[in-house]
Subunit: 317 residues, 2 copies
Amino acid sequence: MYLIGIDVGGMSIKGGIVDKLDGKIIEQYSIPTNAYSKEYSISEDISKVIDYLIVKTGIKFDQILGIGIGQPGSVDSERGIIRYANNLSVENVPVVAELQEKYSVPIYINNDANCAALGEYVFGAGRGYKDIVFITLGTGVGSGIIIDGKLFEGRSSAGAEAGHMVIHVNGEPCSCGRKGCWEAYASASALIRQTKAMMDAHPESLMHKFAQEEGKVSGKTAFRAAKVGDEAAQLVVDTYINYISEGLINMANIFRPDAILIGGGISNEKEYLTKPLQRLMDSTSFGGAFNPKVIVKTASLQNDAGILGAAALIIEE
Amino acid sequence: MYLIGIDVGGMSIKGGIVDKLDGKIIEQYSIPTNAYSKEYSISEDISKVIDYLIVKTGIKFDQILGIGIGQPGSVDSERGIIRYANNLSVENVPVVAELQEKYSVPIYINNDANCAALGEYVFGAGRGYKDIVFITLGTGVGSGIIIDGKLFEGRSSAGAEAGHMVIHVNGEPCSCGRKGCWEAYASASALIRQTKAMMDAHPESLMHKFAQEEGKVSGKTAFRAAKVGDEAAQLVVDTYINYISEGLINMANIFRPDAILIGGGISNEKEYLTKPLQRLMDSTSFGGAFNPKVIVKTASLQNDAGILGAAALIIEE
């Protein structure tokens, strides 16, 4: 049997047909995301991707267990509605009802970070655990929470916004309107800001050389320079990892899950990131050795996280 | 039918027999808490309280649905073990197994803040809601979380420690070893520290007069002076309420519950506290008006919270 996973993003709508047994994507397709106006329908675009995949693979709908959709922004998963997604200009769109008119298989939609958490739980680094906190370090800081094998979303799917947990009262401004959110310190965007500030103060730093090579300051600049012994870069990396740890340990103290998985662009640093985070977690989380250990791991699905996470919605339901 | 609730504290072990129907405590009794040594048994003390209540009321054990115990510190509720409670010098005590040798009714134990949350849910201000975050503002900041009518404790009951969520990176030292925990800003102890600092800077403040009357600086000093127009006191109160709100809004963004209930000594300020907190919650929590409102309310069980919360464990199970 097969699952269809749809990953709606700011740049493209990607879809894939997934073999339920081994979690392999057997075919995928993507189209650019349009700027949705009132005349334009996001459901029609999703539908184009689905139809392409069905025609291309020749798989019949009686072999498809369902369609899962991962969507940035605020999603009412129970009612199948996209409440809002700033960068897509959609508001209160009943996507599931619209698609259900065309397809008779079960259709689910959820927030993309929730999908990614579920994807790791079903197909990735979260297999074998019951309780997981998934954190994605990208443009923002997203989170997905699995409690006892079920996605925890809060009322009307409006919880699990750990990126908007203040870790520094009156600190850096956040896109959500608060000051000092975890996202404003631990996202890739925050790391770039921290890197630039340190570069300004240290014209001798190797970070300038790496940034020149890359054509810009990126989330990798400080990590690359730190790895070859640049002191200023090491300070950026240590401070950044500490900011990540503060939020991770907060989540451990609140949820005490089996594992916290780190995804998103920054997670490509793998053990260079997770080793110090694990050390800080072990030394600083509440109750110390009296309490069960929380494992810090890199998420494993990477580029497939969007499609597999959306497909995992069908298995969870 | 009746419930027995036992509230173990640093000063006393209180117990009560509760009528399941109306949640009224029909009889209560307390003995001072002993400094437990290896030769001494906390189970024996709990047992004294239970036996007194049974003899005094003449209620037979076939009318008792169970015994619930609320205990400060770290409790493994599944295995019925007190892992540790610093101020009671107990460590890895299998209280439930010990008491079960004597009593054949079901016996449950849980952390006191978890019990208080459950008590409010079953008997108090949380009735009618499904998802609640309960916060107690006392010597520390405790929390209890109800998700879909069930206590959420994290793995091995080691979660729900929201007081040890950092809200100010590298901030005030906390008893848990971290710096900047919510508890270090929003507890009654923190308020007293903040009040004293402001009093030192403002010898003209009415806070001095109120503190003299009370014989000490307390959690009430700043509130009392602010209510009669003292500017320095108003600044203490506003700042303190803001600290409370930062953690509350974090919990709303993570859990998006129906309601957040405030208990503990400071909650006696009632609407003077909850009104500004509600305003900050509405204006600042994630998603604004797009997301369902989180109600901020004062907990209602007050002095009975310990016994009723412990008794509520029996109903939940």
